[in-house]
Amino acid sequence: MHVTLTINDTKHHLELDPRVTLLDAIRHHAGLTGTKKGCDHGQCGACTVMVNGRRINSCLSLAVMHDGDAITTIEGLGTPEALSPLQAAFIETDGFQCGYCTPGQICSATAMLEEIRAGWPSHVSETLDGPALPTEAEIAERMSGNLCRCSAYPNIIAAIRLAAAEREDAA
């Protein structure tokens, strides 16, 4: 089937079997291998990308269902020369060991900070009325869909808090 995906502002016209997941379309058909395949069952979050601004597990979605959608992967967030604030913060705080989960962590955190900004509550929020704040407990809860086999969690949370604080300062 013919599918058009706009990945990081570039249109990709792909011919795909309906079984191809969004993850495999991104990696194997569009050639963008920054997004990682971990469990391939929606449990680890390594495949997290943003679709129309929202984070999802790309392994649990069919590419054909995303015809016309705008997808952002780790490659679309920043470059080695111009890192995104979260990418820079992960380096600053040493928010990884092996790095395999990192693209998913950063894509997830990028969208998660927008969810906080939009005032979405979480399971650990004291009230449902907000305001939502990027505290350690809130970040841990909101990032629970991203596992890190190396267990670099303390520094992942530190990176996200740093990026969130920098954005507050800039705002």
């Binding site: 929606g42 597990n57 979605s61 069919l62 054909v64 269902m65 509550p121």
Partner: protein, 330 residues
């Protein structure tokens, strides 16, 4: 994954017409269905994509709240009306899955998600739900997560949804569409089926029928609480959960609706338990009596025996919180 034909529905009418072909499944968020298709637990020959249908509205009506079947779990949890008047529903949704999954999972799909019984997922094992008549490997197997109420000799699986437990306590109804223009409304209480000797038939949905909306009656005053007990603090299914809507008047319980997750093949509710609370002043003895009524027929399977005392304690904790005087809440 087995090969399938993919059809994107342009309208509910198209989707329902397509679903008349045997072997067709609807796909919306796909977060559970695609996982099951990868494991070949489910092998539909045709997928009809209903994710773009115009069923995304959340509307306040005289009859209550109408939630379109395609509303994502994230949008529903964050909806201002839901947060304000049905906080139980927000809390239950936020207690389930992960941020990524909630962004994709839909209201209709959440109701229809399948059990996470390990033997259902493992195609090498016996499972009457996956393969009717093959047996149940969970009975006598590893059954820590399994049912203590309403189970049968054919199946001891639990329903995994948190959202459905809240909806059951909120007396929700489900609006169903059928090909040819049929439309019916079913209380959630009557939507799910106990396993009996047909555990593969989980709801009263007829082949080809589609969930269009979930309907909530107007919110009653009082406290709404969702308490979930699980093996880790986040991103895990409930071992036991309690959804409570409770209203006090002059020191006595005036209204109580309680639904339980993790205990049965469907969200569980006991009219006897609720009846015993009405008109009474809260006390540990009353909560214990309520638990007796809930658990009179409870049967452990070995690994899940702990759920019986856990359900008792969780119910007592929720009732204590729900009936505590203002200012005295933990």
């Amino acid at each position: 994954m087995r090969a399938f034909d993919y059809i994107r529905a342009g309208s509910c009418k198209d989707a329902l017409a397509e679903a008349e072909t045997p072997g067709t499944a609807f796909i919306a968020g796909g977060t559970n269905l695609l996982d099951l298709m990868k494991h070949e637990v489910m092998t539909p020959a045709r997928l009809v994509d209903i994710s773009r249908l115009d069923l995304r509205g959340i509307t306040l009506t005289d009859a209550g709240l109408r939630i379109g079947a395609m509303v994502s779990n994230s949008d529903l949890a964050a909806d201002p009306l839901v947060r304000r008047h049905w906080p139980l529903l927000s809390r239950a949704l936020l207690a389930g899955a992960s941020g990524q999954l909630r962004n994709k999972a839909t209201t209709g799909g959440n109701l229809l998600q399948r059990t996470r019984c390990y033997y259902f997922y493992d195609t090498a094992m016996q499972c009457n739900k996956r393969e009717p008549g093959s047996g149940c490997a969970a009975i006598g197997g590893f059954n820590r997560i399994h049912a203590i109420l309403g189970a049968s000799d054919a199946c001891i699986a639990t329903h995994p949804s948190d959202m459905a437990v809240a909806l059951r306590a909120l007396s929700a109804e489900v609006e169903l569409l059928a090909a040819g223009g049929g439309r019916r409304q079913v209380p959630l209480a009557a939507f799910y089926r106990l396993p009996g000797d047909t555990p593969h038939v989980e709801t009263v949905l007829e082949p080809g029928e589609m969930i269009a909306a979930v309907l909530l009656p107007p919110a009653e005053g009082g406290r709404q609480i969702y308490r979930k007990v699980r093996d880790r603090a986040s991103y895990a299914f409930a071992l036991v959960s309690v959804a409570a809507c409770l209203r006090m008047e002059t020191g006595r319980i005036a209204a109580a609706a309680l639904a339980f997750g993790g205990l049965a093949h469907m969200p569980w509710r006991s009219a006897e338990l609720e009846g015993a609370l009405i008109g009474e002043a809260p006390s540990p003895a009353l909560f214990d009596h309520a638990a007796d009524l809930l658990l009179a027929e409870a049967k452990g399977q070995g690994d899940n025996d702990f759920k019986i005392p856990l359900a008792r304690r969780t119910l007592a904790a929720v009732l204590a919180e729900a009936t505590a005087e203002e200012g005295a809440r933990a």
